[in-house]
Symmetry: D2
Subunit: 189 residues, 4 copies
């Protein structure tokens, strides 16, 4: 009989490196709520949404040291924001975007530019469910509008992409995600 | 005085692994025209658009052996299409998408699902000009529609994204791209 | 004035995926002592030395959840050993060896085959100090013998490689490493 | 019936970025001979042995444009040596070492420091045959001495490592390698 291993799940949060205060407040609240719900957060480790999410996580009563992960593009750890507990200095450049979404059981997008767009599509290819915060602009919002009539990025229906209009809805959806068994089997051809 | 080195430039072509015959014909013609214009083509090395582009390149009178490059996600070279001359079996999984667009001086998108979408956004982050074929559907078309009022994926204006309505227009634009000097300096923070 | 951020440091431990019980006992003790000294451990996340190190860490009185990191070659988290708290499923194949040593402030080698040998040399290139356990055989021992007259892998003297004859010596050396300021500036040409 | 595709094979040559003139002459001659034998060469794309091998290839009567490949650690193509025809600017840092040996059917080591050592061991893990030039010093020579009593880096006997005392012997061995069918199946656990 296969033993069941219980690990704290990781949620990858992706979003803008620079953004306005409203977006930062949303990201911070999201980070706190993720941690309240007993998940770890992984981000790209830099500023803006990435920093706010980590800051928020640390304000959760449920936070424990090690809950914030930062997946950097460089080997230099000095560019990480100060709320990252565990730095993963990949040295992979933009290929680190793939690692970031591979780490999370689910990816949540807040605002975001081209980097976030690449991560939404990489998460989908990796068959990871994606949640789009639709009230903070950026590519999370643009993609949310685009997908109005579809939960999927292409005909393969690799993983569901869900738009949410509040952080409560994001958290409900996040928790529901883990009630469904999914097949993560990848295949190249 | 710095010596000038003249190398055959590489054009990265991204697109669907499975698609209809109309799209395949477009991809094939595109591959031929790229090679006619004395460029190499790099693709993801698999089927569909990737295969048709390589096949087309080989039909160019200007083709020479070594003009078709395939950047595979696996170490296994056996999954490459038969028109790839030079296989780069990265073993990097989806992180190979980044390598593919990093190799090209310009990226051209034909149709395409989520993989293509990730590559458009990664090319942009890498400050590579992107050309979207707007008459073969897929994410190349969707992105073309989205960007109607903008040539850029985000406020950083990292590199121009241009929609084209014919292969002639694609080739004109491609050749013009090299008349402009651009700054490819990347910065993380 | 630049703020000082205090993070728990990560020690990368590299070693055989399959080995005898003596080696496993050494690896386990090493994992415990690393955690006793208030470091996290990162390994390749699989069996043998990697598993024993994580198991040992968990037996430390100083252990807290999140102290064991496993950097996998696959996207599939199912191959991680059960003592890994935080899985980093890179999907990068053997390129993950580079990430593993990049994560640690210091790399410690226990026994080990070709994978360990690649990691010793990659750590050195990344200018990370390396500690070789010289009493458990494998490439840690072979390299220790080779370097008898030198602390360096090549003329660049990128980082010191130190052989140790006991776990106490390893821990003393590990703690001393952090008393020296070092320059991690990398340069390609 | 499966169609047989005949492609020019790639030989990965690894070695020192800086070295004396004797070593450069050996590397250059090796590059020429590889090309004479109708192979392409892939190197790390920088100076020293990498440059000399590419230069040599270009002096072969059998050389055709596209025969020299350079797998760079950066996105910046400006650091490639001028004899590289096709630049692969991975942006992967030292993880590019893995890509370089993955590209070649066989890896040949000339002199070399820690980078070469990592590539010898990564090639072995990737089940690629390795040829060590034993008369130009560096890690190729050190490893050749070490392996006197064994063709393998560890108990897994993943791929044969052969020391050679002349370039003629290297070329004979290289050509013989392709007469044996080998199993490149990789497995992580």
């Amino acid at each position: 009989m296969k033993e069941t291993i219980t690990r704290k799940k990781i949620i990858s949060v992706i979003g803008s490196a620079s953004c306005d205060n409203t977006t930062l407040a949303i990201a911070k609240k999201l980070g706190k709520r993720i941690c309240d719900n007993n998940f770890r957060v992984a981000t790209g480790g830099l500023g803006g949404v990435m920093e706010a999410v980590c800051m928020g996580a640390k304000e959760s009563e449920n936070y424990s040291e090690g809950d914030t992960l930062g997946v950097l593009p460089t080997y230099d750890v000095g560019i990480a924001n100060k709320y990252v507990d565990i730095i993963i200095p990949t040295g992979l450049g933009f290929a680190r975007n793939t690692i970031l979404v591979a780490m999370g059981a689910v990816t949540i997008a807040v605002a975001g530019g081209a980097g976030t767009l690449s991560e939404i599509s990489l998460a989908y290819q990796l068959r990871k469910p994606v949640i789009l915060i639709d009230f903070a602009g950026g590519w999370a919002k643009k993609m949310s509008d685009l997908l109005k009539r579809s939960d999927f990025l292409d005909h393969r229906k690799s993983s569901p992409i869900k738009s949410v209009s509040s952080i409560d809805e994001a958290m409900n959806h996040l928790n529901n995600t883990f009630k469904t068994t999914r097949n993560y089997k990848l295949c190249w051809s």
